[in-house]
């Protein structure tokens, strides 16, 4: 009798546990993200910290981590981005053709509940600059929302896998493609376009979460009314106008194919009610075809999510000479800077400087190199402008400019950093390379690359091509560093267990001590890691770590012979990393690890 009662109680308890997350999941994304057991948006939270409060896996037991499950996605393109975990279901978006898998974490072997197979236009294969990547989905209001590479945003019912809406946002026939992950704020889905190498004019759009209807479009460059900027609401620390949209910082009509795409990550501050994101390079790369600052390319933009209006902006690299996109994430944190508690955003730019910026005004508080930098001596905090080295300026008439650090891959590229409020440190995957840069006059031919430069790479100081570092953003100082043989192209995951995770291009997933950088554990996952590890709590109450393997991204283009699916495509090895193909080839795999 007693035993029977206990059993009934257990059943009731179990049912309640099963029901609880389902109820929570029906609420807005802000509510769900407080639940550290889930991972409902690309960067874990609106502040883009990629920090989880889970702590079962810690610096003592991390050495006991083991692989528990894996699944081939069947897709060879580079697997950037990260899975979502919501209501005991793991959602995985593949690179083109952008299949969406829903794995049932309550069943042995995590079988699929469903898979969604959109019809994606293969013409985009020639329009995506740098492999056919997708940077992930966003969960809100019972929907999985993500971008198809050929310029559509879709919302899929998280329970049934049925398509709820599909909206055309971009035009592949103009060189636009859409690899980025959306950000959902209140009832708006915010999306942007890639195409800086195809002479697009970059933008972000706000879509209605319910219907998918496009509500506003905000261009990165162009006239004030298309950049959505006006004197009444635009208050920027450095740029006071009157040329708010920066039209005069371009040659006549140059802005029309001027790039400034948006293909990286977005953040949101609910208190200031501002979204933050970075814009990409101005087009073409040959700077002599576009004299001027080229605003607002290579900039951080702060906009009102409701109507898209621009509140402030700051340009990192004025009149970019080196393809220094600024699409890297903006991590929001409250830090003591020079004795004052400041609401800041921290940004690790392609140009090699780490910026700590007041996120209400756009004032640069700290700007220090986080990798080897020689194109600029320093950033003047009074003017916000870098002091450029004239010998490193490029242009078609200047010939081959040698030994510029960092390369156009950036000190950091798409691979997102993480931030632990426990340690106060930022965890940054970095590249350590320098380049020669030779520009040439280039013609705009719609739908073809609009580049006009060649830039071979070489290893940076020390010879290692990458490193995973811990960064003190209040003081602009590196705290520790793990040198890596190859560029570190995976994102970072920080946890309350004082363990940080990242992956390597030669196919290791690694765990390190968040305070010291001591390597705790590693596992070879079958292909190079360019995705971003996440952590979640399974239905059994245990903490797990998930990550994609799947070599690619820029390295699909630049590594030499890493593909094995095409007998007619055999390439010489890359001079700067001649043996990467010894350690990895392409191939997408989803992994789950646990204790």
């Amino acid at each position: 009798m007693i035993r029977h009662r206990l059993t009934r109680r257990l059943i009731v308890a179990t049912v309640m546990v099963l029901l609880a997350p389902r109820t929570a999941g029906g609420q807005a994304a802000t509510a769900a993200s407080k639940d550290d057991g889930q991972w409902t948006m690309p960067a874990k939270d609106y502040a883009s910290t990629r920090f989880s409060g889970l702590s079962q896996i810690n610096a003592v037991n991390a050495r006991r981590l083991r692989a528990l499950w894996s699944f081939s996605t069947g897709v060879l393109g580079g697997h950037e981005g990260q899975p979502l975990v919501v209501n005991n279901t793991m959602y995985v978006v593949t690179p083109y053709p952008n299949v969406l898998y829903a794995f049932d974490l309550t069943q042995e072997g995590y079988p699929l509940k469903w898979k969604y197979r959109p019809n994606v236009n293969p013409a985009v294969i020639g329009i995506a600059c740098c492999d056919l990547v997708n940077r992930g989905a966003f969960y809100a209001d019972g929907k999985i929302v993500y971008n198809l590479l050929d310029g559509y945003t879709v919302a899929v019912d998280a329970t049934t896998g049925k398509e709820i809406w599909k909206t055309k946002i971009a035009d592949v026939y103009k060189g636009e493609s859409t690899p980025m992950a959306p950000l959902i704020v209140k009832d708006k889905v915010i999306v942007g376009t890639a195409g800086g190498e195809y002479g697009v004019r970059g933008w972000i759009k706000g879509l209605d979460l319910k219907s998918g209807q496009v509500l506003w479009t905000a261009y990165s460059i162009g006239p004030d009314d298309e950049v959505l900027v006006n004197q009444a609401t635009f208050k920027s620390f450095y740029d006071k106008g009157p040329d708010l949209a920066g039209l005069k910082s371009w040659p006549k009509d140059g802005w029309k194919n001027g790039g400034a795409p948006v293909w990286g990550w977005l953040s949101y501050d609910p208190t200031l009610d501002l979204i933050y994101y970075g814009t990409g390079n101005p087009a073409p790369w040959n700077v002599e075809q576009r004299p001027g600052d080229n605003k607002w390319a290579t900039s951080v933009m702060a906009r009102d999510p409701d109507d898209g209006s621009l509140r402030w902006a700051y340009q990192f690299t004025n009149g970019d000479n080196w393809d220094f996109d600024s699409t890297q994430e903006m991590i929001l944190a409250d830090l003591m800077v020079k004795g004052r508690l400041r609401k800041v955003l921290v940004h690790f730019d392609k140009n090699g400087f780490a910026y700590t910026i007041d996120r209400a005004t756009g004032e640069v508080l700290v700007a220090e190199p986080f990798v080897a930098v020689n194109w600029a001596k320093r950033v003047d905090l009074k003017t916000g402008r870098p002091e450029m080295d004239p010998t490193k300026l490029t242009g078609a008439s200047k010939g081959n400019i040698t030994d510029i650090c960092p390369t156009l891959e950036g000190g950091k590229n798409q691979q997102p950093a993480g931030y632990s409020p426990r340690t106060g440190l930022f965890y940054v995957p970095t590249n350590n390379m320098c380049m020669d840069f030779q520009s040439a006059q280039v013609n705009y031919v719609v739908g073809t690359p609009y580049i006009g430069a060649g830039a071979p790479y070489k290893p940076g100081p020390g010879g290692n091509l990458g490193a995973f570092i811990a960064w003190d953003a209040a003081n602009g100082k590196r705290v520790w560093e793990i040198k890596e043989k190859y560029p570190v192209w995976s994102g970072a995951l920080a946890t309350a267990g004082s363990v940080v995770f990242y992956g390597t291009l030669d196919g290791w997933l690694k765990a390190a001590d968040a305070r010291t950088g001591t390597l705790l554990w590693k596992f070879k996952v079958g292909s190079g890691v360019i995705g971003n590890p996440i952590t979640f709590t399974g239905p059994d109450g245990k903490q797990y770590v998930a990550v994609y393997a799947g070599f690619g991204g820029d390295w699909f283009l630049l590594s030499g012979d890493v593909r094995s699916d095409d007998p007619a495509d055999v390439r010489p090895a890359a001079t700067f990393m001649p043996d990467i193909a010894r350690h990895t080839s392409q191939g997408g795999i989803v992994w789950i690890f646990g204790l």
Binding site: N121, P122, G126, A128, Y173, E197, N443, A568, D569, D579
Partner: protein, 146 residues
């Protein structure tokens, strides 16, 4: 400077026109500019076209310049060694390596590759073909050792 676009006034029925062109070994017709991106699909047989400037080193040199000027190197890399697009310098061909097959790939486009027939005249395409043919290795070595 922007390239001259050759625009046809009306929509050509591609298969009909190309069949005619092939039979007469005349210059194939221009492709409409809005077909420039994804003409792709199923190009007509092109085995009978022959390269009128095959092996001509000055045509190859002109082709090398066109390879840069029309942004071919943006996808296939300098030297056509392969980047986001496949290698065209390895002596191997996904869509066939005969004169006419290479010509067709450029003229009509392939999956992911725009059709350049709308923006380049046939003699320029033959120069590109000649350039690519000049890159082919003497022998195919299938083994890489470390």
């Amino acid at each position: 400077m922007k390239p001259t676009h050759i625009l046809a006034a009306t929509t050509p029925v591609l298969v009909f026109l190309v069949t005619t062109a092939t039979a007469q070994q005349a210059n194939p017709p221009a492709v409409r500019y809005d077909q420039h991106i994804s003409a792709g699909g199923n190009p007509p047989p092109s085995g009978t076209l022959t390269n009128p400037v095959k092996g001509d080193s000055s045509a190859a040199a002109d082709g090398a310049k066109l390879f840069g000027a029309f942004n071919c190197d943006g996808c296939h890399a300098g030297g056509a060694v392969g980047a986001v697009g496949p290698s065209l310098a390895d002596g191997r061909w996904r869509y066939g390596g005969s004169d006419g097959e290479i010509f067709s790939s450029i003229y009509f486009g392939r999956q992911g590759m725009p059709a350049f027939g709308g923006i380049l005249p046939p003699d320029a395409i033959w120069k590109l073909v000649t350039y690519l043919q000049s890159l082919q290795p003497k022998e195919d070595n299938p083994t890489v050792s470390w």
